[in-house]
Protein backbone atom coordinates (compact mmCIF):
# COMPACT_ATOMS: atom_id res chain seq x y z
CA UNK A 1 0.00 0.00 0.00
CA UNK A 2 1.31 3.43 -0.95
CA UNK A 3 0.15 6.11 1.44
CA UNK A 4 0.44 9.80 0.69
CA UNK A 5 -0.21 12.09 3.64
CA UNK A 6 -0.67 15.87 3.49
CA UNK A 7 1.66 16.27 0.54
CA UNK A 8 2.28 19.83 -0.66
CA UNK A 9 4.83 20.94 -3.19
CA UNK A 10 5.97 24.32 -4.54
CA UNK A 11 8.08 25.06 -7.57
CA UNK A 12 9.59 28.55 -7.46
CA UNK A 13 6.86 29.69 -5.10
CA UNK A 14 4.03 28.41 -7.28
CA UNK A 15 1.97 25.74 -5.53
CA UNK A 16 1.90 22.53 -7.60
CA UNK A 17 0.38 20.16 -5.05
CA UNK A 18 -1.86 21.32 -2.23
CA UNK A 19 -2.28 19.08 0.75
CA UNK A 20 -2.87 15.78 -1.04
CA UNK A 21 -3.70 12.65 0.94
CA UNK A 22 -4.44 9.44 -0.91
CA UNK A 23 -3.97 5.73 -0.45
CA UNK A 24 -3.23 3.29 -3.25
CA UNK A 25 -3.84 -0.27 -2.05
CA UNK A 26 -1.87 -3.20 -3.34
CA UNK A 27 -2.94 -4.62 -6.68
CA UNK A 28 -4.60 -3.30 -9.80
CA UNK A 29 -3.93 -0.45 -12.17
CA UNK A 30 -4.43 3.09 -10.88
CA UNK A 31 -4.41 5.94 -13.39
CA UNK A 32 -3.64 9.57 -12.56
CA UNK A 33 -5.50 11.85 -14.97
CA UNK A 34 -6.12 15.55 -15.23
CA UNK A 35 -5.38 18.58 -17.38
CA UNK A 36 -1.87 19.86 -18.04
CA UNK A 37 -0.32 21.41 -14.96
CA UNK A 38 -2.63 19.57 -12.55
CA UNK A 39 0.34 18.11 -10.68
CA UNK A 40 0.00 14.47 -11.79
CA UNK A 41 3.62 14.09 -12.81
CA UNK A 42 4.84 15.92 -9.72
CA UNK A 43 2.84 13.59 -7.49
CA UNK A 44 4.25 10.55 -9.29
CA UNK A 45 7.80 11.94 -9.20
CA UNK A 46 7.51 12.51 -5.46
CA UNK A 47 6.31 8.92 -4.95
CA UNK A 48 9.22 7.81 -7.12
CA UNK A 49 11.69 9.99 -5.10
CA UNK A 50 12.79 11.62 -8.35
CA UNK A 51 12.36 15.04 -6.79
CA UNK A 52 12.98 15.91 -3.15
CA UNK A 53 9.93 16.01 -0.90
CA UNK A 54 9.09 19.37 0.67
CA UNK A 55 6.10 18.76 2.91
CA UNK A 56 4.09 15.69 3.78
CA UNK A 57 4.93 12.06 3.94
CA UNK A 58 4.88 9.14 1.52
CA UNK A 59 5.14 5.53 2.63
CA UNK A 60 5.43 2.38 0.55
CA UNK A 61 4.28 -0.42 2.85
CA UNK A 62 6.59 0.03 5.84
CA UNK A 63 9.22 2.04 3.92
CA UNK A 64 9.30 5.82 4.04
CA UNK A 65 10.20 7.57 0.78
CA UNK A 66 13.16 9.86 1.35
CA UNK A 67 14.18 8.18 4.61
CA UNK A 68 14.37 4.45 4.03
CA UNK A 69 17.41 2.94 2.37
CA UNK A 70 17.44 3.37 -1.40
CA UNK A 71 18.40 -0.26 -1.88
CA UNK A 72 15.29 -1.40 -0.02
CA UNK A 73 13.06 0.99 -1.94
CA UNK A 74 14.55 -0.24 -5.22
CA UNK A 75 13.34 -3.74 -4.42
CA UNK A 76 9.85 -2.50 -3.63
CA UNK A 77 9.14 0.18 -6.19
CA UNK A 78 10.29 0.53 -9.80
CA UNK A 79 10.00 3.55 -12.06
CA UNK A 80 9.75 3.20 -15.81
CA UNK A 81 12.36 5.40 -17.50
CA UNK A 82 11.41 7.02 -20.82
CA UNK A 83 14.97 7.16 -22.07
CA UNK A 84 18.37 6.06 -20.89
CA UNK A 85 21.68 7.71 -21.61
CA UNK A 86 24.41 5.65 -23.28
CA UNK A 87 21.70 3.83 -25.26
CA UNK A 88 24.06 3.21 -28.17
CA UNK A 89 26.34 1.08 -26.02
CA UNK A 90 23.55 -0.97 -24.44
CA UNK A 91 21.96 -4.08 -25.87
CA UNK A 92 18.45 -5.13 -24.88
CA UNK A 93 19.95 -7.90 -22.75
CA UNK A 94 22.23 -5.39 -20.97
CA UNK A 95 19.30 -3.11 -20.23
CA UNK A 96 16.97 -5.83 -18.95
CA UNK A 97 19.91 -7.15 -16.92
CA UNK A 98 20.11 -3.86 -15.05
CA UNK A 99 16.72 -4.70 -13.55
CA UNK A 100 18.48 -7.19 -11.27
CA UNK A 101 21.00 -4.61 -10.04
CA UNK A 102 19.19 -3.86 -6.73
CA UNK A 103 19.72 -7.52 -5.82
CA UNK A 104 23.21 -8.31 -7.07
CA UNK A 105 24.83 -4.84 -7.01
CA UNK A 106 26.96 -5.59 -10.06
CA UNK A 107 27.68 -9.28 -9.61
CA UNK A 108 24.83 -11.21 -11.25
CA UNK A 109 24.26 -14.77 -10.04
CA UNK A 110 23.00 -17.55 -12.36
CA UNK A 111 19.55 -16.97 -10.84
CA UNK A 112 19.68 -13.32 -11.85
CA UNK A 113 20.65 -14.28 -15.39
CA UNK A 114 17.83 -16.81 -15.56
CA UNK A 115 15.31 -14.18 -14.46
CA UNK A 116 16.58 -11.81 -17.12
CA UNK A 117 16.08 -14.49 -19.80
CA UNK A 118 12.61 -15.18 -18.41
CA UNK A 119 11.75 -11.51 -18.55
CA UNK A 120 12.93 -11.21 -22.12
CA UNK A 121 10.92 -14.28 -23.11
CA UNK A 122 7.79 -12.92 -21.44
CA UNK A 123 8.11 -9.60 -23.29
CA UNK A 124 9.06 -11.21 -26.64
CA UNK A 125 12.47 -9.59 -26.57
CA UNK A 126 14.61 -12.67 -27.23
CA UNK A 127 14.89 -12.00 -30.99
CA UNK A 128 16.07 -8.48 -30.14
CA UNK A 129 18.36 -9.48 -27.28
CA UNK A 130 21.64 -8.48 -28.93
CA UNK A 131 20.32 -5.37 -30.67
CA UNK A 132 21.57 -2.02 -29.47
CA UNK A 133 18.83 0.12 -27.88
CA UNK A 134 19.04 2.96 -30.35
CA UNK A 135 18.34 0.63 -33.29
CA UNK A 136 14.91 -0.24 -31.84
CA UNK A 137 11.56 1.38 -32.61
CA UNK A 138 9.91 3.45 -29.90
CA UNK A 139 7.52 0.64 -29.02
CA UNK A 140 10.26 -2.00 -28.85
CA UNK A 141 12.40 0.24 -26.65
CA UNK A 142 9.47 0.90 -24.32
CA UNK A 143 8.93 -2.87 -24.11
CA UNK A 144 12.56 -3.33 -23.13
CA UNK A 145 12.18 -0.70 -20.38
CA UNK A 146 9.06 -2.44 -19.06
CA UNK A 147 10.90 -5.77 -19.12
CA UNK A 148 13.68 -4.18 -17.07
CA UNK A 149 11.22 -3.02 -14.42
CA UNK A 150 9.54 -6.42 -14.56
CA UNK A 151 12.73 -8.30 -13.68
CA UNK A 152 13.34 -5.76 -10.93
CA UNK A 153 10.56 -7.79 -9.30
CA UNK A 154 9.01 -4.95 -7.30
CA UNK A 155 5.48 -4.87 -5.92
CA UNK A 156 4.89 -1.38 -7.32
CA UNK A 157 5.55 0.05 -10.74
CA UNK A 158 5.26 3.78 -11.48
CA UNK A 159 4.93 5.11 -15.03
CA UNK A 160 4.83 8.76 -16.10
CA UNK A 161 2.99 9.22 -19.38
CA UNK A 162 4.49 6.13 -21.02
CA UNK A 163 2.23 6.46 -24.08
CA UNK A 164 3.90 9.65 -25.28
CA UNK A 165 5.55 8.99 -28.64
CA UNK A 166 3.88 5.60 -29.03
CA UNK A 167 1.50 4.78 -31.86
CA UNK A 168 -1.89 3.20 -31.26
CA UNK A 169 -0.70 -0.41 -31.59
CA UNK A 170 2.27 0.09 -29.27
CA UNK A 171 0.13 2.00 -26.76
CA UNK A 172 -2.50 -0.73 -26.64
CA UNK A 173 0.15 -3.45 -26.40
CA UNK A 174 1.87 -1.65 -23.51
CA UNK A 175 -1.39 -1.12 -21.60
CA UNK A 176 -2.37 -4.77 -22.15
CA UNK A 177 1.00 -5.87 -20.71
CA UNK A 178 0.57 -3.63 -17.68
CA UNK A 179 -2.93 -5.04 -17.20
CA UNK A 180 -1.43 -8.53 -17.35
CA UNK A 181 1.24 -7.63 -14.78
CA UNK A 182 -1.47 -6.42 -12.43
CA UNK A 183 -3.82 -9.36 -13.00
CA UNK A 184 -1.39 -12.27 -13.19
CA UNK A 185 1.82 -11.17 -11.49
CA UNK A 186 0.39 -9.30 -8.50
CA UNK A 187 2.03 -6.04 -9.44
CA UNK A 188 0.55 -2.69 -8.49
CA UNK A 189 0.69 -0.26 -11.39
CA UNK A 190 0.37 3.51 -10.95
CA UNK A 191 0.36 5.37 -14.21
CA UNK A 192 0.00 8.98 -15.34
CA UNK A 193 -2.13 9.07 -18.48
CA UNK A 194 -3.08 11.94 -20.73
CA UNK A 195 -5.71 10.11 -22.69
CA UNK A 196 -8.80 9.54 -20.58
CA UNK A 197 -10.01 6.82 -22.93
CA UNK A 198 -6.92 4.73 -22.15
CA UNK A 199 -7.55 5.27 -18.46
CA UNK A 200 -11.17 4.16 -18.64
CA UNK A 201 -10.26 1.16 -20.81
CA UNK A 202 -7.39 -0.25 -18.75
CA UNK A 203 -7.45 1.17 -15.21
CA UNK A 204 -9.30 -0.21 -12.19
CA UNK A 205 -9.25 3.15 -10.53
CA UNK A 206 -8.74 6.72 -11.62
CA UNK A 207 -7.46 9.61 -9.53
CA UNK A 208 -8.55 12.86 -11.15
CA UNK A 209 -6.45 15.91 -10.34
CA UNK A 210 -6.88 19.59 -10.99
CA UNK A 211 -4.77 22.53 -9.83
CA UNK A 212 -2.79 20.47 -7.36
CA UNK A 213 -5.81 18.90 -5.71
CA UNK A 214 -7.46 15.53 -5.95
CA UNK A 215 -10.99 16.11 -7.23
CA UNK A 216 -12.30 12.62 -7.91
CA UNK A 217 -11.29 9.11 -7.04
CA UNK A 218 -12.90 5.81 -7.91
CA UNK A 219 -13.68 3.27 -10.63
CA UNK A 220 -13.63 4.86 -14.11
CA UNK A 221 -17.27 4.14 -14.89
CA UNK A 222 -18.36 5.86 -11.66
CA UNK A 223 -16.03 8.83 -11.79
CA UNK A 224 -15.71 9.84 -15.43
CA UNK A 225 -18.86 11.74 -16.35
CA UNK A 226 -19.67 14.52 -18.76
CA UNK A 227 -19.90 16.99 -15.86
CA UNK A 228 -16.47 15.95 -14.61
CA UNK A 229 -14.94 16.40 -18.07
CA UNK A 230 -16.49 19.84 -18.23
CA UNK A 231 -15.45 20.96 -14.77
CA UNK A 232 -11.96 19.44 -14.75
CA UNK A 233 -10.84 19.72 -18.36
CA UNK A 234 -12.98 22.77 -19.15
CA UNK A 235 -14.07 21.45 -22.51
CA UNK A 236 -17.49 20.24 -23.62
CA UNK A 237 -16.50 16.91 -25.11
CA UNK A 238 -19.53 14.58 -25.10
CA UNK A 239 -19.36 11.28 -23.30
CA UNK A 240 -20.84 7.98 -24.52
CA UNK A 241 -21.05 4.68 -22.76
CA UNK A 242 -19.78 1.87 -24.95
CA UNK A 243 -19.90 -1.71 -23.65
CA UNK A 244 -20.26 -0.46 -20.10
CA UNK A 245 -17.39 1.98 -20.07
CA UNK A 246 -17.33 5.73 -20.62
CA UNK A 247 -15.72 6.95 -23.85
CA UNK A 248 -14.91 10.60 -24.44
CA UNK A 249 -15.82 11.66 -27.97
CA UNK A 250 -12.78 13.69 -28.95
Amino acid sequence: MIEVQNLSHDIHGAPILRDISVTVPKGGVTALVGPNGAGKSTLLSLMARLIPRQQGRITVDELVVGESDDKDLARRLAILPQTVHAASRLTVRDLVGFGRYPYHRGRPTPDDRAMVEDGMRLFDLLPLAERSLDTLSGGQRQRAFVAMTYVQDTDYLLLDEPLNNLDLAASRALMARLRDLADNKDRTVIIVLHDINFATAYADRVLVMKEGRLCADGAPQDVITETLIQSVFETDAPLRTVEGRPVVMV
Binding site: L50, D70, A74, L80, P81, V84, A86, D94, Y101, P102
Partner: protein
Protein backbone atom coordinates in the same frame (compact mmCIF):
# COMPACT_ATOMS: atom_id res chain seq x y z
CA UNK B 1 36.28 -9.84 -26.60
CA UNK B 2 37.03 -6.68 -24.60
CA UNK B 3 39.34 -8.66 -22.37
CA UNK B 4 41.54 -9.40 -25.37
CA UNK B 5 41.65 -5.75 -26.27
CA UNK B 6 42.60 -4.84 -22.70
CA UNK B 7 45.35 -7.44 -22.89
CA UNK B 8 46.62 -5.98 -26.18
CA UNK B 9 46.60 -2.49 -24.70
CA UNK B 10 48.54 -3.74 -21.69
CA UNK B 11 51.13 -5.27 -24.00
CA UNK B 12 51.35 -2.03 -25.99
CA UNK B 13 51.87 -0.06 -22.80
CA UNK B 14 54.56 -2.49 -21.66
CA UNK B 15 56.33 -2.15 -24.99
CA UNK B 16 56.18 1.66 -24.78
CA UNK B 17 57.46 1.62 -21.21
CA UNK B 18 60.36 -0.69 -22.07
CA UNK B 19 61.24 1.40 -25.11
CA UNK B 20 61.12 4.52 -22.97
CA UNK B 21 63.35 3.01 -20.30
CA UNK B 22 65.96 1.24 -22.41
CA UNK B 23 66.44 2.95 -25.77
CA UNK B 24 69.22 5.45 -26.34
CA UNK B 25 70.92 5.10 -22.98
CA UNK B 26 74.30 6.82 -22.97
CA UNK B 27 76.49 6.25 -19.91
CA UNK B 28 75.34 4.53 -16.74
CA UNK B 29 72.27 2.35 -17.30
CA UNK B 30 71.55 2.40 -13.58
CA UNK B 31 71.35 6.19 -13.42
CA UNK B 32 69.27 6.38 -16.58
CA UNK B 33 66.83 3.78 -15.26
CA UNK B 34 66.36 5.61 -11.97
CA UNK B 35 65.92 8.94 -13.67
CA UNK B 36 63.61 7.61 -16.35
CA UNK B 37 61.80 5.30 -13.97
CA UNK B 38 60.57 8.28 -11.97
CA UNK B 39 59.45 10.09 -15.07
CA UNK B 40 57.74 6.97 -16.35
CA UNK B 41 55.91 6.58 -13.06
CA UNK B 42 54.81 10.21 -13.22
CA UNK B 43 53.55 9.82 -16.78
CA UNK B 44 51.60 6.68 -15.88
CA UNK B 45 50.03 8.39 -12.86
CA UNK B 46 49.04 11.45 -14.87
CA UNK B 47 47.70 9.30 -17.67
CA UNK B 48 45.55 7.15 -15.40
CA UNK B 49 44.34 10.16 -13.40
CA UNK B 50 43.33 12.20 -16.47
CA UNK B 51 41.71 9.24 -18.21
CA UNK B 52 39.66 7.98 -15.29
CA UNK B 53 38.64 11.52 -14.31
CA UNK B 54 37.45 12.22 -17.86
CA UNK B 55 35.48 8.97 -18.22
CA UNK B 56 33.86 9.36 -14.79
CA UNK B 57 32.94 12.97 -15.46
CA UNK B 58 31.36 12.07 -18.78
CA UNK B 59 29.40 9.29 -17.13
CA UNK B 60 27.92 11.43 -14.36
CA UNK B 61 27.21 14.38 -16.63
CA UNK B 62 25.66 12.14 -19.31
CA UNK B 63 27.59 13.39 -22.31
CA UNK B 64 30.73 12.62 -24.28
CA UNK B 65 32.06 16.12 -24.93
CA UNK B 66 32.69 17.65 -21.53
CA UNK B 67 35.71 16.73 -19.45
CA UNK B 68 36.87 18.08 -16.10
CA UNK B 69 39.54 20.14 -17.84
CA UNK B 70 37.09 21.76 -20.26
CA UNK B 71 34.83 22.59 -17.33
CA UNK B 72 37.70 24.32 -15.54
CA UNK B 73 38.74 21.83 -12.85
CA UNK B 74 42.42 22.47 -13.41
CA UNK B 75 41.83 26.23 -13.61
CA UNK B 76 40.35 25.89 -10.14
CA UNK B 77 43.53 24.17 -9.00
CA UNK B 78 45.78 26.90 -10.38
CA UNK B 79 43.53 29.52 -8.79
CA UNK B 80 43.78 27.87 -5.38
CA UNK B 81 47.55 27.68 -5.79
CA UNK B 82 47.82 31.32 -6.84
CA UNK B 83 45.61 32.42 -3.98
CA UNK B 84 47.87 30.52 -1.59
CA UNK B 85 50.98 32.27 -2.93
CA UNK B 86 49.25 35.64 -2.67
CA UNK B 87 48.04 34.98 0.84
CA UNK B 88 51.30 33.58 2.20
CA UNK B 89 53.89 35.34 0.04
CA UNK B 90 56.37 33.45 -2.12
CA UNK B 91 59.12 32.80 0.49
CA UNK B 92 56.73 31.37 3.04
CA UNK B 93 54.99 29.41 0.32
CA UNK B 94 58.20 27.85 -0.94
CA UNK B 95 59.24 26.83 2.54
CA UNK B 96 56.08 24.77 2.94
CA UNK B 97 56.43 21.05 2.44
CA UNK B 98 55.37 20.41 -1.17
CA UNK B 99 53.61 17.19 -0.23
CA UNK B 100 51.59 18.89 2.47
CA UNK B 101 50.84 21.75 0.15
CA UNK B 102 49.52 19.38 -2.44
CA UNK B 103 47.31 17.61 0.09
CA UNK B 104 45.89 20.95 1.21
CA UNK B 105 45.34 22.04 -2.37
CA UNK B 106 43.63 18.77 -3.21
CA UNK B 107 41.35 19.07 -0.18
CA UNK B 108 40.39 22.66 -0.95
CA UNK B 109 39.80 21.68 -4.54
CA UNK B 110 37.48 18.82 -3.56
CA UNK B 111 35.35 21.17 -1.49
CA UNK B 112 35.21 23.86 -4.17
CA UNK B 113 34.58 21.39 -6.99
CA UNK B 114 31.73 19.62 -5.22
CA UNK B 115 30.10 22.97 -4.53
CA UNK B 116 30.56 24.48 -7.99
CA UNK B 117 30.22 21.49 -10.25
CA UNK B 118 27.66 19.71 -8.09
CA UNK B 119 25.39 22.71 -8.53
CA UNK B 120 26.10 22.85 -12.25
CA UNK B 121 25.33 19.15 -12.74
CA UNK B 122 22.07 19.46 -10.84
CA UNK B 123 20.85 22.47 -12.79
CA UNK B 124 22.19 21.61 -16.21
CA UNK B 125 21.64 17.86 -16.47
CA UNK B 126 20.25 16.98 -19.86
CA UNK B 127 20.97 20.37 -21.36
CA UNK B 128 24.36 19.87 -22.93
CA UNK B 129 24.76 23.25 -24.55
CA UNK B 130 23.89 25.06 -21.35
CA UNK B 131 26.34 22.95 -19.39
CA UNK B 132 29.05 23.41 -21.97
CA UNK B 133 28.59 27.17 -22.02
CA UNK B 134 28.44 27.47 -18.25
CA UNK B 135 31.51 25.28 -17.94
CA UNK B 136 33.52 27.20 -20.48
CA UNK B 137 32.50 30.54 -18.98
CA UNK B 138 33.33 29.21 -15.54
CA UNK B 139 36.76 28.08 -16.71
CA UNK B 140 37.42 31.48 -18.28
CA UNK B 141 36.29 33.20 -15.10
CA UNK B 142 38.55 31.07 -12.93
CA UNK B 143 41.47 31.73 -15.27
CA UNK B 144 40.73 35.46 -15.30
CA UNK B 145 40.67 35.68 -11.52
CA UNK B 146 43.95 33.78 -11.51
CA UNK B 147 45.31 36.22 -14.11
CA UNK B 148 44.23 39.17 -12.03
CA UNK B 149 45.89 37.80 -8.92
CA UNK B 150 49.05 37.05 -10.91
CA UNK B 151 49.21 40.65 -12.12
CA UNK B 152 48.86 42.03 -8.64
CA UNK B 153 51.66 39.99 -7.09
CA UNK B 154 55.33 40.83 -7.46
CA UNK B 155 57.50 39.17 -10.12
CA UNK B 156 59.27 36.72 -7.84
CA UNK B 157 55.94 35.42 -6.58
CA UNK B 158 54.69 35.32 -10.14
CA UNK B 159 57.57 33.06 -11.13
CA UNK B 160 56.50 30.57 -8.45
CA UNK B 161 52.94 30.52 -9.72
CA UNK B 162 53.92 30.39 -13.36
CA UNK B 163 55.96 27.24 -12.88
CA UNK B 164 52.74 25.55 -11.86
CA UNK B 165 50.51 26.87 -14.62
CA UNK B 166 52.00 25.35 -17.77
CA UNK B 167 51.75 21.78 -18.88
CA UNK B 168 55.08 20.04 -19.22
CA UNK B 169 55.18 16.28 -19.52
CA UNK B 170 58.96 16.16 -19.87
CA UNK B 171 59.69 17.82 -16.55
CA UNK B 172 57.08 16.35 -14.29
CA UNK B 173 57.51 17.25 -10.62
CA UNK B 174 59.04 13.96 -9.59
CA UNK B 175 59.64 15.10 -6.00
CA UNK B 176 55.86 15.02 -5.48
CA UNK B 177 55.73 11.46 -6.76
CA UNK B 178 55.24 9.80 -3.37
CA UNK B 179 52.23 11.84 -2.26
CA UNK B 180 50.79 11.86 -5.77
CA UNK B 181 51.04 8.11 -6.11
CA UNK B 182 49.33 7.66 -2.77
CA UNK B 183 46.46 10.06 -3.55
CA UNK B 184 46.09 8.86 -7.10
CA UNK B 185 46.06 5.16 -6.29
CA UNK B 186 43.59 5.78 -3.48
CA UNK B 187 41.25 7.66 -5.79
CA UNK B 188 41.67 5.12 -8.58
CA UNK B 189 40.92 2.30 -6.16
CA UNK B 190 37.73 4.01 -5.03
CA UNK B 191 36.78 4.70 -8.64
CA UNK B 192 37.26 1.00 -9.39
CA UNK B 193 35.00 0.11 -6.49
CA UNK B 194 32.38 2.46 -7.97
CA UNK B 195 32.49 0.73 -11.36
CA UNK B 196 29.10 -0.99 -11.10
CA UNK B 197 27.50 2.12 -9.63
CA UNK B 198 28.90 4.13 -12.52
CA UNK B 199 27.28 1.68 -14.96
CA UNK B 200 23.92 2.41 -13.33
CA UNK B 201 24.49 6.16 -13.04
CA UNK B 202 25.29 6.23 -16.77
CA UNK B 203 21.66 5.25 -17.47
CA UNK B 204 20.45 8.67 -16.38
CA UNK B 205 18.58 10.01 -13.34
CA UNK B 206 15.26 8.14 -13.63
CA UNK B 207 16.67 4.68 -14.25
CA UNK B 208 19.39 5.02 -11.62
CA UNK B 209 16.91 6.25 -9.00
CA UNK B 210 14.64 3.34 -9.80
CA UNK B 211 17.54 0.91 -9.40
CA UNK B 212 18.46 2.32 -6.00
CA UNK B 213 21.43 4.53 -6.94
CA UNK B 214 20.34 8.11 -6.26
CA UNK B 215 22.18 10.21 -8.85
CA UNK B 216 23.02 13.08 -6.49
CA UNK B 217 24.93 10.93 -4.06
CA UNK B 218 26.79 9.13 -6.84
CA UNK B 219 27.63 12.40 -8.57
CA UNK B 220 29.01 13.93 -5.39
CA UNK B 221 31.18 10.91 -4.75
CA UNK B 222 32.46 10.84 -8.30
CA UNK B 223 33.16 14.59 -8.23
CA UNK B 224 35.30 14.12 -5.12
CA UNK B 225 37.36 11.43 -6.80
CA UNK B 226 37.63 13.48 -10.00
CA UNK B 227 38.88 16.47 -7.99
CA UNK B 228 41.60 14.41 -6.36
CA UNK B 229 42.66 12.94 -9.70
CA UNK B 230 42.76 16.31 -11.46
CA UNK B 231 44.60 17.88 -8.52
CA UNK B 232 47.26 15.19 -8.64
CA UNK B 233 47.69 15.44 -12.38
CA UNK B 234 47.77 19.25 -12.34
CA UNK B 235 50.29 19.29 -9.51
CA UNK B 236 52.55 16.95 -11.45
CA UNK B 237 52.45 18.51 -14.93
CA UNK B 238 50.23 21.56 -14.85
CA UNK B 239 46.89 22.00 -16.60
CA UNK B 240 46.10 20.09 -19.79
CA UNK B 241 42.89 21.06 -21.55
CA UNK B 242 42.04 18.42 -24.12
CA UNK B 243 44.07 15.38 -23.18
CA UNK B 244 41.25 13.76 -21.18
CA UNK B 245 38.86 14.23 -24.08
CA UNK B 246 41.28 12.68 -26.56
CA UNK B 247 41.65 9.66 -24.29
CA UNK B 248 37.95 9.22 -23.54
CA UNK B 249 37.00 9.53 -27.22
CA UNK B 250 39.60 6.90 -28.15
CA UNK B 251 38.41 4.68 -25.32
CA UNK B 252 34.79 4.65 -26.53
CA UNK B 253 36.07 3.93 -30.02
CA UNK B 254 38.30 1.00 -29.02
CA UNK B 255 36.01 -0.32 -26.27
CA UNK B 256 32.39 0.36 -27.26
CA UNK B 257 30.85 -0.96 -24.04
CA UNK B 258 28.86 0.53 -21.17
CA UNK B 259 30.78 -1.40 -18.52
CA UNK B 260 33.12 0.70 -16.42
CA UNK B 261 34.92 -2.45 -15.36
CA UNK B 262 36.31 -2.33 -18.93
CA UNK B 263 36.20 1.42 -19.60
CA UNK B 264 38.16 2.57 -16.54
CA UNK B 265 41.23 0.33 -16.95
CA UNK B 266 40.96 0.63 -20.74
CA UNK B 267 41.08 4.42 -20.67
CA UNK B 268 44.01 4.39 -18.24
CA UNK B 269 45.93 2.02 -20.54
CA UNK B 270 45.19 4.05 -23.67
CA UNK B 271 46.21 7.20 -21.87
CA UNK B 272 49.48 5.56 -20.74
CA UNK B 273 50.24 4.40 -24.28
CA UNK B 274 49.71 7.94 -25.64
CA UNK B 275 51.80 9.63 -22.97
CA UNK B 276 54.66 7.15 -22.66
CA UNK B 277 54.73 6.31 -26.36
CA UNK B 278 54.44 9.98 -27.31
CA UNK B 279 57.12 11.04 -24.88
CA UNK B 280 59.43 8.29 -26.13
CA UNK B 281 58.84 9.23 -29.75
CA UNK B 282 59.40 12.92 -29.10
CA UNK B 283 62.46 12.50 -26.92
CA UNK B 284 64.21 9.72 -28.84
CA UNK B 285 62.86 9.86 -32.37
CA UNK B 286 62.14 13.53 -33.02
CA UNK B 287 64.79 14.78 -30.60
CA UNK B 288 62.51 17.14 -28.69
CA UNK B 289 61.54 19.63 -31.32
CA UNK B 290 57.95 19.85 -30.09
CA UNK B 291 56.71 19.43 -26.53
CA UNK B 292 54.31 16.49 -26.11
CA UNK B 293 51.70 18.74 -24.50
CA UNK B 294 51.42 20.74 -27.73
CA UNK B 295 50.88 17.63 -29.86
CA UNK B 296 48.41 16.09 -27.42
CA UNK B 297 46.49 19.34 -27.00
CA UNK B 298 46.34 19.83 -30.75
CA UNK B 299 44.93 16.33 -31.34
CA UNK B 300 42.58 16.68 -28.37
CA UNK B 301 41.37 20.04 -29.64
CA UNK B 302 40.58 18.53 -33.04
CA UNK B 303 38.64 15.71 -31.38
CA UNK B 304 36.74 18.29 -29.31
CA UNK B 305 35.70 20.21 -32.42
CA UNK B 306 34.72 17.03 -34.27
CA UNK B 307 32.58 15.81 -31.36
CA UNK B 308 30.98 19.22 -31.01
CA UNK B 309 30.09 19.36 -34.70
CA UNK B 310 28.68 15.84 -34.57
CA UNK B 311 26.68 16.76 -31.48
CA UNK B 312 25.32 19.88 -33.13
CA UNK B 313 24.29 18.01 -36.24
CA UNK B 314 22.27 15.52 -34.22
Amino acid sequence: MYRNRLLLLTLALLACALAYLFTGVKGSLEFALMFRGKKLAALLLIGAAQAVAAVMFQTISGNRILTPAIMGFDALYVLILTAAVVALGAPAYQQLDPGLLMLTNATLMCAAAVMLFGLLLRKGQGDLMRMLLTGVVLAVMLRSITGLLQRVIDPSEYAVVQAASFARFSRAETDLLGVSALLCCGALGLAWRMRHRLDVLALGPVASTSLGEPPLRGQRRALLLISVLVAVSTALVGPVAFFGLLVSALTYLVLPTYRHAILLPGSALISGVILVGGQWALERVFAFTTPLSVVVEFLGGVVFLLLLMKGLKR
